[in-house]
């Protein structure tokens, strides 16, 4: 890596004077560096807050520092202590560990099941011709415009009823939340995946059919495999959406002793409780699952987001 870089510098150096470098490359670097500072300062700042044992906002940066000297607080932690990280796991009123487990379970299960079910339905829409196909597609487009948050009243009433008749599945349960997210993501995801399936040439599965492959084999072995980018993108988008979802989660799991991260985290810093240190520590840990999923999927994200999403 470094070797290739060096050769490129060597090649570039004689061709470019400093003045020319400024007009072609320098301004690009200047803008990019400014943008990077804008992008990361809230993150580096929250790291500083998390590592500060006092745990209030003002303690993260000594009040004596004002103006430009306070800018250092944004990028360089002033103290180092892991106290906040252990504290969040030892508070039974605000059980961070349970929130974390709930969020991860809900997001993983909902995203996996939704991606699989949507892909399966999309296969039918993309590869088969049947009665009701066009109205079905139209219904999917319309459903996309009715996000579940608009039906939150109805969801609340439905899940309350379910919890009375089927305890363990309605409001107040992680299972109930998963069911709702599944229902909400299927329409959009089916439409997205169908768009991508359409770009996979039908000739491929036709030749497989001639070779005697069953529809199950064509679906799992061919179409799904060729559509890996869009599957990854749909998984990522659903995971992110569910992990971040607030309105439905706080309606169905309002109790802070058993809820999700999105609902729980705000309790650290609302009302009289201003535990910014604990909040910062919890927020940094909460970012880990999303960054992990993002890191695994980002390779596909650029192609998947544009090609899959655009083709309809």
């Amino acid at each position: 890596m470094s070797a290739t870089k060096e050769t490129s510098t060597l090649r570039a150096a004689p061709r470019m004077s400093f003045g020319r470098w400024i007009t072609t490359m320098g301004w690009r670097h200047a803008i990019a560096i400014a943008a990077v500072l804008f992008a990361i300062f809230p993150i580096t700042y929250i790291i500083g807050v998390a590592l500060n044992p006092v745990g209030s906002l003002s303690s993260a940066c000594p009040p004596t520092k004002t103006g430009l000297s306070a800018v250092t607080c944004l990028f360089i932690p002033q103290t180092f202590s892991l106290e906040n990280f252990s504290a969040i796991f030892n508070d039974p009123r605000l059980p961070y560990g349970i929130w974390f487990r709930n969020s991860l379970t809900v997001a993983l299960v909902a995203a996996t099941l939704s991606t699989l079910m949507s892909a399966s339905a999309a296969f039918a829409f993309s590869r088969m011709r049947f009665k009701g196909r066009r109205p079905g597609l139209l219904a999917l487009v319309l459903l996309q415009m009715f996000p579940q948050i608009l039906a939150i009243t109805a969801i609340f009433i439905l899940m309350t009823k379910i919890s009375e008749v089927f305890p363990g599945m309605g409001s107040g349960t992680v299972t109930g939340l998963i069911l709702i997210y599944l229902g909400g993501s299927l329409g959009v995801n089916t439409y997205l995946i169908k768009g991508f399936f359409d770009t996979v040439p039908v000739e491929i599965d036709e030749s497989a059919k001639i070779d005697g492959a069953s529809h199950v084999r064509i679906f799992f072995g061919l179409v799904l495999r060729l559509s890996a980018p869009v599957m990854v993108v749909v998984f990522f988008v659903t995971f992110t959406f569910v992990f971040n979802e607030l309105a439905i989660a706080q309606t169905l799991l309002p109790n802070t002793t058993d809820t999700t991260l999105a609902v729980g985290m705000q309790t650290y810093v609302s009302g009289n409780l201003q535990e910014w240190g604990k909040f910062a520590a919890g927020a940094l840990l909460a970012a880990v699952p999303m960054i992990t999923v993002f890191a695994f999927t980002q390779k596909y994200l650029v192609t998947g987001l544009t090609s899959g999403a655009v083709k309809g």
């Binding site: 490359m25 990361i40 809230p42 906002l57 003002s58 829409f125 890191a295």
Partner: protein, 523 residues
């Protein structure tokens, strides 16, 4: 091959068998709870599943059915119910069915019967249902009481004169009751009809004692009326407002003015287009609604333009392949997109804090960023720019690489300036592929509940929160109407939900028509 397909067949049989067992159990549960809608849905699902997967052919349905079931139950049904609810007065005081409301009216207005003997009772439980084991003070015999009446229990065991246990049932003590809120609630709600003619019910006063109580209101099923036994006032079922009302009740007056002329709770009834006309014509509501509607548009459009503009600018800055450190820049710039919003929105709230926030400390000022209407709006937009530009950067980068290089170069050969080449060749092509995503981004941000709730909670507020705040979107305003205050206005909130749906659908339809036109230009 035959062995393989046999195995597959067995697996299929086992899975379908499990689904059937589970489904039948669920049907029975729903049936036991008299929830007919669920019974109907589950029966249809069971029949459909069995037909679909046991018959030959019908391949499309085999692939679609699993998703379809969840879609109908948890998306289509809630959407349909919202539509229905928007034409009703569903909400506080109108949440339960007329039958339940009737029971509630009787229970709420109960008082002890004078001279009632004290009954020896025990809470007993079987299969999660709580009943009352009663020792009749006159005969000394044991009875089992439920909400439907009493049945003799000849095989009960006695401790002294009081019946304390009965076979097949578990006798609950105080600890078991308080330890299980579900059982405790059942025990407290248990009203055993004792003398139906006089309207006496037996109700617990402690885990071992019960007394006779009587409702002030005598119900007449023939005329569907309540009569206040103390004053003689008659309340009849009024289906236009969903309440039991007197003849003096004036539907155009407020609840306060009608005090004493109706009984609570009521039940939901259809109110036609009232909820919609209220939004558009009621001067008080319109004064709240209009600014929120305008800000929702400003926020959604402003967000899309800012995020797209910034994302596009950064994509262009880094487009030059000779630029070094591209990997680093890209990773750092995309970082905000890979973080949870519930984290970043709250971090920004902390940084913008007037007294302790780092922003004020650096600027050396004391500005209440989130406490002033215009500043709060500006802050919300900037924070949302930070949160969302990276998504646009990814999208634009992808779309730019898809544009053939020779097209861009051709423009230069023609002698066009870099800016002109970009504006006339690259931008139109870019818009074709990203405009559907811009439309999607608009509808997402029009309903960006999470950001607003976490950053400003809709504030700052000029009056009471029910009137809406300076940064309230329609969706946060609606949520507050439905759940945020003591009075839930679910029907009214549903009507606003439907209005949001119509707005988003109309804007999307218009946007897609524009996209179509763009595509035609391209060809």
């Amino acid at each position: 091959m035959p062995l393989g397909s046999l195995n597959a067949w067995i697996v299929k049989l086992v899975i379908l068998g499990l689904i059937d067992v589970l489904g039948i159990w669920a049907v029975l549960k729903a049936y036991g709870a008299n929830w007919w809608l669920a019974v109907g849905f589950l029966v249809v699902v069971l029949v459909l599943v069995n037909i679909t997967y046991f018959r030959r052919g019908g391949l499309p349905l085999k692939y679609m059915l699993p998703g379809l079931i969840f879609l109908v139950a948890f998306q289509l049904y809630p959407a349909g119910y919202t539509f229905y609810a928007s034409f009703t007065n569903l909400g506080t005081g109108h949440l339960i069915s007329q039958e339940e409301a009737r029971k509630s009216i009787q229970v709420q207005n109960e008082k002890p019967v004078e001279g009632s003997p004290s009954f020896d009772v025990r809470p007993i439980e079987k299969g999660g249902d709580v009943s009352m084991l009663i020792t009749d003070p006159e005969t000394g015999a044991a009875l089992i009481g439920t909400n439907d009446g009493v049945t003799p229990a000849p095989d009960a065991e006695f401790t002294g004169a009081a019946a304390t246990a009965v076979p097949d049932y578990r006798t609950l003590n105080l600890g078991q009751l308080t330890g299980d809120p579900e059982l405790d609630a059942q025990w407290r709600a248990l009203a055993v009809p004792w003398d139906t003619e006089l309207g006496y019910n037996l109700r617990q006063s402690s885990p071992t004692r019960a007394e006779l109580r009587q409702s002030d209101f005598a119900y007449d099923a023939q005329t569907d009326t309540f009569t206040d036994t103390t004053t003689g006032t008659v309340f009849s079922a009024n289906q236009s407002v969903g309440l039991y009302t007197t003849d003096a009740f004036d539907p155009d007056s407020t609840n306060r003015q009608n005090e004493g002329q109706f009984l609570t709770p009521g039940w939901p009834v259809g109110v036609g287009l009232n909820n919609y006309t209220t939004v558009l014509t009621d001067p008080g509501v319109r004064a709240n609604f209009l600014p929120i509607l305008i800000w929702s548009f400003v926020f959604a459009i402003g967000t899309v333009l800012m995020q797209f503009g910034f994302g596009l600018a950064m994509a262009l800055v880094m487009q030059d392949k000779r630029m070094r450190g591209q990997r680093f820049y890209r990773i750092a710039l995309v970082l905000p997109y890979s973080l949870p919003i519930f984290m970043t929105a709250l971090v920004w709230r902390g940084m913008l804090n007037r007294d302790f926030g780092i922003i004020n400390q650096i600027l050396g000022v004391n500005i209440d960023w989130l406490g002033d209407g215009s500043l709060a709006k500006l802050s919300v937009l900037i924070v949302n720019l930070w949160i969302g530009y990276a998504y646009m950067l990814l999208v634009v980068t992808g779309a730019l690489t898809a544009i053939p290089q020779d097209l861009k170069e051709a423009a230069f050969v023609d002698g066009a300036s870099a800016f002109r080449a970009f504006r006339t060749i690259v931008l139109p092509l870019l818009m074709v592929s990203v405009s559907p995503l811009l439309i999607a981004s608009f509808s997402f941000n029009f309903n960006n509940f999470t950001l607003i709730q976490l950053l400003t909670n809709g504030g700052p507020f000029a009056g009471s929160p029910i009137q809406g705040g300076q940064t309230d979107l329609l969706i946060t305003y609606t949520y507050r109407l439905a759940f945020g205050t003591n009075e839930q206005l679910l029907g009214f909130a549903s009507a606003i939900s439907m209005i949001i749906f119509i707005i988003v659908a109309a804007v999307s339809a218009y946007g897609f028509r524009l996209t179509k036109r763009l595509e035609e230009i391209k060809q």
